[in-house]
């Protein structure tokens, strides 16, 4: 399973795992959006702790979830990001859209 979701009405946390690319993105996106649209939480947290690879499809995933949360008046947080994934996120300026915590940083 590339995503496991824990949710209450304030916070939805999506634990992503494995490789995030165009192939795995579709499933992850649909799973997260189904929960968000049902619960409209105040905050969505994307947990990258167990993500071993991400390309620009993952940027689209994060940006799309940012837009969705924004349209519902909620916030997005990203945590557990590895150095190689951070490199891709920084290139896209995702660090300007959401609060990003890297691997090893205190939550």
């Amino acid at each position: 399973m590339p995503v496991r979701i824990e949710a209450d009405k304030n916070l939805t946390t999506a634990y992503l795992s494995g490789e995030i690319d165009h192939h795995s993105c579709v499933f992850i996106r649909d799973e997260i959006d189904a929960t968000i649209n049902r619960l409209a939480p105040l905050e969505l947290c994307l947990d990258f702790m167990h993500v071993s690879f991400m390309d620009s499809s993952g940027i689209g995933l994060v940006m799309g979830r940012y837009k969705l949360m924004h349209s519902l008046g909620g916030r997005l947080r990203v945590r557990g990001v590895s150095p190689s994934t951070m490199k891709v996120m920084k290139l896209a300026g995702l660090d300007l859209l959401a609060k990003i915590d890297c691997k090893g940083e205190k939550r």
């Binding site: 690319d21 165009h22 192939h23 390309d55 620009s56 499809s57 689209g60 190689s84 891709v88």
Partner: protein, 145 residues
């Protein structure tokens, strides 16, 4: 310059092959003893080019993707990724960061990633015939520095 080692790989344009393609290329390059960062840069750039063939060139129909990798004397790696898909009418526009023909879910940053993670990228394309993306990256072998 002639490659000192080379490999060819042909895959079908199924999204499940994205992961296979980037892992196969990085396994071939691993013989040069690259750093973790260099190897992950190559993986990411290959993933971008191969995904573009699947998503854009063949637009989720079946086609073939032709990958060639050459390793040169000076530890430069050259990766060529070719498709026979729809081609790119305006390459300059396509390579502009944030330009995408699929704004709903794509960021339009694939070429920007390839550009920043490799030393050099060249794109040749003919509308209706297909596209060839060539990536070059020099591996600064750890033993030699």
């Amino acid at each position: 310059m002639k490659a000192v080692n080379e490999m060819k790989l042909t895959i079908e344009s199924r999204s499940v092959n994205e992961s296979f393609a980037r892992v196969a290329v990085s396994a071939f390059v691993a013989g040069l003893d690259p750093t973790v960062e260099e190897l992950s840069d190559i993986k990411t750039a290959v993933s971008e080019a191969v995904t573009n063939c699947i998503v854009h060139a063949y637009q989720n129909t079946m086609g073939r993707i032709y990958i060639w990798v050459g390793i040169f004397e000076d530890s430069t790696v050259k990766i060529r990724i070719r498709d026979r898909g729809c081609g790119i009418a305006n390459i300059e526009q396509a390579m502009t960061p944030l330009f995408t023909s699929q704004p709903q879910e794509r960021a339009g940053l694939g070429f920007a990633v390839m550009q920043s993670f490799c030393d050099k990228i060249s794109v040749r394309s003919t509308a209706g015939k297909g596209t060839t993306v060539t990536l070059m990256k020099k591996i600064e072998s750890r033993q030699r520095c």
